[in-house]
């Protein structure tokens, strides 16, 4: 009986404490939150910041109540924007006209307009990591033109433009870089940051043309400021210089004239740094695997000699891509491939004394010994054109 009384007393006292607690519990219903899926940052004339958010409208997404969905092609999200001097100020302004609290934990992409990026984004890196809600796994994307224009696009596949942007940023053809990688590249010795570079492109020959988001290449940074971009073959080379197995399609010309299209499916790059006679030398051992996708005119891949020739041509292509990136980096004066970090790791003292003061200009004087070993692992279902029997 004593135990019953004890239990009753403790339960009663707990109930008595409840009203006291009522003000300070942080239960928030899912429908009292506005999930910011992406935010876009732009520079306004006069140095102010434009902050644009994309918020989904759960009521428009057609829940189980049967109502939503078909209401006259309304979009299931909306975009709102505000101008201010600092990020918290703009967020506060936006919040004033939102009935639901802005919730940042589901923001998966952050878009930064090119003009703001060129001016420098150090403020942004001060504000964002302070709030536990914003995640460092968010993709950071630089946009050609205004960032909010990407939010105004209407890609066909995904429900939200933000989803399209995120899916594009994480395809295997693009270097997978989130805010954490970006921040690390900014702070590590001997490295500069880079980020995916996207723009809007109209769909072609469609019945109802839509504005799609397209990935162009990478924006390269020196310190906090964007200094230029790489695209095409140089963008491919950047991924490989960073020793990431980025997929790429290569159009190459084989010895004797046939043009081959290859899909590079895997690429490993082992980079070592040496000092030879006081000169800096990078030795890169590249192992690439590729699939043959097309050849014109047809080449008989049953012949080992042809395979060897194709592999040789592919190796040349990869080396060319990497050298092209190196050239672009030298021109822009950045080390987006983070090569300086290799020196810092191998020769910390030498790095501090000799290379740090003149980095990344010293990169131009370094020698690059790029040894590519390619293998064609697949020619598809056929070895030669089906018509040539």
């Amino acid at each position: 009986m004593r135990r019953i009384r004890q239990a009753a007393v403790s339960v009663l006292s707990l109930i008595c404490m409840l009203p006291v607690l009522s003000g300070c519990w942080d239960r928030t219903e899912i429908n009292d939150l506005a999930f910011i899926l992406t935010s876009a940052l732009d520079l306004e004339p006069g140095g102010k910041i434009r902050y644009t958010v994309l918020v989904p409208l759960p009521g428009q997404m057609g829940g189980a109540t049967g109502g939503g969905g078909g209401t006259g092609g309304d979009k299931s999200y909306y975009v709102d924007s505000e101008v201010g001097n600092t990020f918290p100020e703009v967020q506060e302004k936006l919040q004033r006209r939102m009935s639901r609290r802005m919730f940042l934990a589901h923001r998966r992409t952050i878009l930064i307009g090119e003009d703001l990026a060129r001016q420098g984004i150090s403020n942004f890196f001060d504000h964002t990591p302070r709030s536990p809600e914003s995640r460092m796994t968010t993709y950071l994307i630089i946009t050609k033109g205004k960032a909010y224009e990407l939010l105004q696009s209407n890609p066909r596949f995904e429900r939200f433009p933000s989803e399209t942007i995120r899916e594009l940023a994480k395809t295997r053809a693009v270097i997978d870089m989130d805010m954490k990688d970006f921040g690390l590249a900014l702070s590590a010795p001997g490295s500069d940051a880079s980020a995916a570079y996207m723009s809007i492109r109209k769909s072609q020959k469609s019945e109802k043309p839509s504005e799609e988001v397209e990935i162009i290449g990478y924006a390269l940074f020196r310190d906090y400021k964007m200094v230029g971009t790489v695209s095409g073959i140089s963008a491919q080379g950047l991924g490989w210089l960073k020793a990431r197995p980025v997929m790429a399609t290569a159009m190459i010309e084989m010895e004797g004239g046939p043009k081959l299209t290859m899909r590079i499916i895997d690429l490993r790059n082992r980079i070592r740094v040496k000092i030879v006679n006081g000169k800096l030398r990078f030795v890169m051992n590249v192992e690439a695997k590729a699939k043959l996708q097309d050849s014109a005119p047809p080449v008989d891949m049953m012949l080992t000699s042809n395979v060897r020739k194709a592999e040789k041509a592919l190796s040349d292509y990869i080396e060319k891509a990497m050298r092209s990136t190196l050239k672009d980096m030298e021109k822009l004066g950045v080390d987006a491939a983070q090569l300086g970090a290799y020196i810092w790791r191998a020769y910390p003292k030498l790095w501090e004394d000799r290379y740090l003061p003149q980095w990344p200009q010293a990169l131009g004087k370094a020698e690059f010994d790029i040894r590519v070993n390619s293998r064609i692992v697949e020619t598809g279902l056929i070895n030669k054109n089906v018509l040539t029997e």
Binding site: R3, I4, A7, L21, W25, D26, R27, T28, E29, I30, N31, L33, F35, L37, P56, P58, G59, M61, G62, G63, A64, T65, G66, G67, G68, F103, A105, H106, R108, E133
Partner: protein
């Protein structure tokens, strides 16, 4: 035959031999049986005044004394009674000694003697027929019982795909025989007790002598003997008296309708309690992991039994935590859900007027009500209820925008999960604890859930069942016993009995064959060898 009609007058009552003023049958043990038949008859008629089912038959043994045969109508086999009377009235022709009747005349195998009314009544009301001879202060109790009883059926609540389909019935003797049939050894002991002052229920404590720890057996007997209650109508009465922790929601005594389960438990060194009048047999000690084990685990192939056990472990957690997790995640930790799932949930919840907790409580309570109604309602109405329930809870509530579709899924998962727990009383504990967890989750989120789970685990660690820690063999950890908890090891590897139950004899099997099977991966290798030898001989 003359039926007693309660014809005792004031006059006869004054001449009675013993005081009729008694409370319980035990009190009558001090009332000896008189020498004179008339006195005994008088006394019996007084005792069974107004008992229309009591039959007294007075007759004359051939060339012998007067005799009195009495029994409770409906509890004896009337044909056998007639046979007995025929023997005595027609063929006997002997003297007046009841001992001689016992030795020479009565063609009845089970005969007990009683010299007082207490013992006499216990047997009589248990279904024996009583015989009193004039001039003897002994009575004979003839075991010619013939009660109506239910036939042996498959237990509905513990059905199996593979395994014996016999279940216990309400008759205790049938039940003891069902156990004995599985363990044909004199070491199977069946100690008899009578509990219940009015019901005088027979209770049999059964165990395997030489395997079960005598201390545990004594403890069981001791706890049972202390029970002093007016009646025992079901095993639940006993369970609540003998369990170690009365306030715990977790059962510390197992009940089963399956004789093979009892036999299996006895072989593990446990003790069974068979109670007359109920098909449920109690088994002690009972530990937490037993809740998640079914008899069929030991009949099916070990691979599938192991996988199904893992499934049960998972679903026990789901049954306990799913609604709480849903409430916690949607109201506190929205960042834990993948974005697209979160948006789907948000879209589904958009039109719902209630907070997630209220929604969860409404649905869970409705589900419990449906389940309860499903059990109680007659079978013909039952299907109507399930259709109505599915419509009301499932579709209509969602369409009306009262409950969101994800919540219906959560409740369904919880419901299904709670039915995967094989021991029903264990499932009840889990189902009850779900509600405080929902409330804790709504107040403190995942933190509340963690605290609740820790409290539950702490409580479980504190529990004991007949001296055995409730969480054994997990806590205290016993590696050797994990073979029957983490997995269901093949039979040939279970060479010893579970060591967490205190035992006298731990070895379950001879080790020679199991070792051979282990070495050769089965019996296959031995057969090949045999053939080869034959070939060589030819």
């Amino acid at each position: 035959m003359k039926r007693s009609r309660g014809n005792a007058t004031e006059q006869t009552r004054s001449k009675q031999l013993h005081q009729l003023d008694y409370r319980f049958i035990d009190d009558l043990k001090s009332a000896p049986i008189a020498d004179r038949l008339e006195d005994n008859k008088q006394y019996l008629n007084e005792l069974f005044e107004d008992c229309s089912d009591f039959v007294v038959r007075e007759f004359q043994i051939e060339q012998g004394a007067k005799a009195l045969l009495f029994f409770v109508d409906g509890m004896v086999n009337t044909e056998l009674v007639n046979d007995v009377m025929k023997t005595l009235m027609v063929f006997d022709g002997g003297d007046r000694d009841i001992e001689r009747l016992l030795r020479q005349s009565l063609p009845v195998s089970q005969i007990q003697q009683a010299d007082n009314f207490g013992d006499l009544l216990l047997s009589l009301l248990g279904g024996d027929a009583g015989l009193i001879l004039d001039g003897n202060h002994q009575s004979l109790l003839l075991g010619i019982r013939g009660m109506e009883k239910r036939s042996i059926n498959e237990p509905e609540n513990e059905a199996v795909v593979r395994g014996p389909k016999e279940g216990f019935v309400e008759n205790m003797r049938t039940n003891t025989s069902l156990v004995r049939r599985r363990l044909k050894t004199p070491r199977l002991k069946m100690k008899h007790l009578t509990i219940g002052r009015e019901s005088n229920t027979s209770v049999v404590v059964t165990y395997l002598d030489g395997i079960a720890d005598p201390l545990v057996v004594d403890e069981v007997l001791n706890r049972l003997e202390q029970i002093d209650i007016d009646g025992v109508l079901e095993s639940g009465y006993i369970e609540e008296f003998i369990q170690d922790s009365a306030y715990s929601p977790f059962p510390q005594v197992q009940y089963t309708e399956r004789p093979d389960m009892v036999a299996g438990a006895l072989l593990q060194g446990k003790v069974g309690i068979i109670i007359d009048g109920t098909p449920f047999v109690l088994i002690v000690p009972f530990v937490f992991m037993d809740i998640l084990q079914a008899t069929e685990d030991y009949y099916e192939r070990f691979q599938i039994a192991t996988l199904i056990r893992w499934l049960r472990y998972l679903f026990m957690f789901l049954s306990l935590l799913t609604p709480g997790l849903y409430v916690a995640i949607t109201t506190f930790h929205q960042d834990l859900l993948p974005t697209s799932l979160l948006l789907s949930v948000a879209a589904a919840r958009e039109a719902i007027p209630f907070p997630a907790v209220v929604e969860a409580l409404i649905m869970e309570i409705t589900f419990e009500a449906l389940r309860e109604a499903g059990i109680r309602l007659p079978k013909t109405v039952g299907s109507a209820v399930s259709i109505l329930g599915a419509l009301v809870v499932g579709q209509a509530a969602v369409q009306a925008g009262i409950v969101s579709a994800p919540m219906v899924i959560v409740v369904s998962i919880t419901g299904i999960a709670s039915f995967t727990i094989p021991r029903y009383n264990g499932a009840i504990a889990v189902r009850m604890l779900r509600f405080p967890i929902i409330i804790a989750a709504s107040l403190f989120g995942l933190y509340g859930i963690m605290i609740s789970v820790m409290l539950i685990i702490g409580h479980l660690a504190d529990l004991r069942s007949f001296g055995i820690p409730y969480l054994s063999p997990l806590g205290p950890l016993s590696y050797a016993d994990l073979k029957d908890v983490a997995i269901r090891a093949p039979w040939w590897t279970m060479r010893s009995r579970p060591s967490f139950i205190s035992l006298k004899d731990t070895q379950r099997m001879d080790t020679e064959l199991p070792e051979q099977i282990y070495k050769q991966g089965g019996q296959r290798g031995m057969e090949f060898q045999h053939q080869k030898e034959e070939d060589e001989a030819q």
